[in-house]
């Protein structure tokens, strides 16, 4: 059984009421579903005997700028048992927030902080949702499509040039 069949079978058996969109592009499997199920499905993918996606490699996002659901949060997870990775995709509106998966994968803590810093997506029940890279007092989110490449003048303070 290949990975797509296995994941499809497992997920539809366990969650028959949830709509899954499982796509395969260049041997990269992506699972899309509604954002309210993120924690339960993450927990299942991690702890199921046959799947064991125990490693959360990355949490990031895509800014679609003009779509109604502006952001897609993307999770890359890896299974040591199957030696393969899948991608979870969840659409989020600009005003919405999404449940944190840091209770499932501890690594997601910093990945979600980075996603919050760069895109301004807030993660509910995150233990410590502070900025990762930019200074605390910075007001913008640099990887959003409406943020200019060279930044906003004066938004990042420089030391004073004396003598």
């Amino acid at each position: 059984m290949d990975l797509k069949e296995l994941v499809t079978k497992k997920l539809t058996e366990k969650f028959p009421q949830i709509n899954f969109d499982i796509t395969d592009y260049k041997d990269q499997l992506a699972v899309t579903f509604d954002k309210q199920h993120i924690v339960t499905i993450s927990d299942f993918l991690k702890n199921d005997e046959d799947l064991q996606f125990k490693l959360c490699e990355d949490v990031t996002a895509v800014d679609w700028a003009r779509r109604k659901k502006r952001f897609t949060v993307v999770y890359h997870i890896f299974s040591l048992k199957l030696n393969s990775r899948i991608r979870i995709k969840v659409d989020v509106e600009e005003t919405e927030n999404i449940e944190s998966v840091s209770s499932v994968w501890k690594t997601a803590n910093w990945h979600e902080r980075e996603t919050y810093d760069m895109y301004g997506i807030t993660f509910k029940n995150h233990p410590d949702l502070r900025r990762m890279y930019m200074p605390e007092e910075f007001e913008y989110h640099p990887l959003r499509k409406d943020f200019p490449l060279m930044g906003i003048p004066g938004s990042l303070p420089l030391p004073k040039k004396e003598n």
Partner: protein, 173 residues
């Protein structure tokens, strides 16, 4: 050969205080290696036997700003890092010099981006801008020689009455 050859005849020589002090100063410029990114590798290479920065009296890389004369800012300075660079510069005793090593430090280089300071001269007085990405060690040595030339031309009066900058006091509770 050197000084002693001249001194054997009379046992003394005349000079000005300015010239003597400038000569002493320029012959031992102790660098503060502010190695932030890849330029630091070339800065380290300039200390190895092949290039040998010791020939110019600058082999004593001081990792404390209190004992150094010339800060070599080697690498990309981000807005977040700029405060650290400035703080270390403020801790160096006068007189002091700054080498902006490499394209990033001089102008932001290839990082034309919101997070990188487009040239450290926005917050530091820079004496030498060094081209290259990264500059070769001999290029750094050339910059050092330029600094030495600049120090050699200096007079004692250049360094008088520079008020010390007020540094913020960090209080630990």
């Amino acid at each position: 050969m050197g000084l002693e050859a001249k001194l054997t005849k009379d046992g003394f020589f005349t000079s000005t205080v300015d010239a003597l002090v400038a000569w002493a100063r320029k012959s031992a410029v102790w660098p503060m290696p502010m190695g932030i990114s890849c330029c630091a590798i070339e800065m380290m290479a300039s200390g190895d036997p092949k290039y040998d920065i010791a020939r110019f009296g600058s082999e004593v890389m001081r990792f404390t700003p209190r004992q150094s004369d010339c800060m070599i800012v080697a690498g990309t300075v981000t807005y977040k890092m700029s405060h650290v660079v400035r703080k270390i510069y403020d801790q160096m005793p006068d007189p002091k010099w700054v080498i902006a090593m490499g394209a990033c430090t001089s102008s932001g280089g290839m990082y034309r981006s919101y997070s990188v300071v487009q040239g450290i001269d926005q917050f530091l007085p820079v004496d030498i801008y060094l081209a290259g990405c990264p500059p070769r060690p001999d290029n750094l040595l050339n910059a050092l020689m330029q600094i030495q030339e600049k120090i050699g031309r200096s007079k004692a009066r250049d360094y008088q009455d520079i008020p010390l900058p007020e540094l913020p006091v960090i209080q630990n509770n």
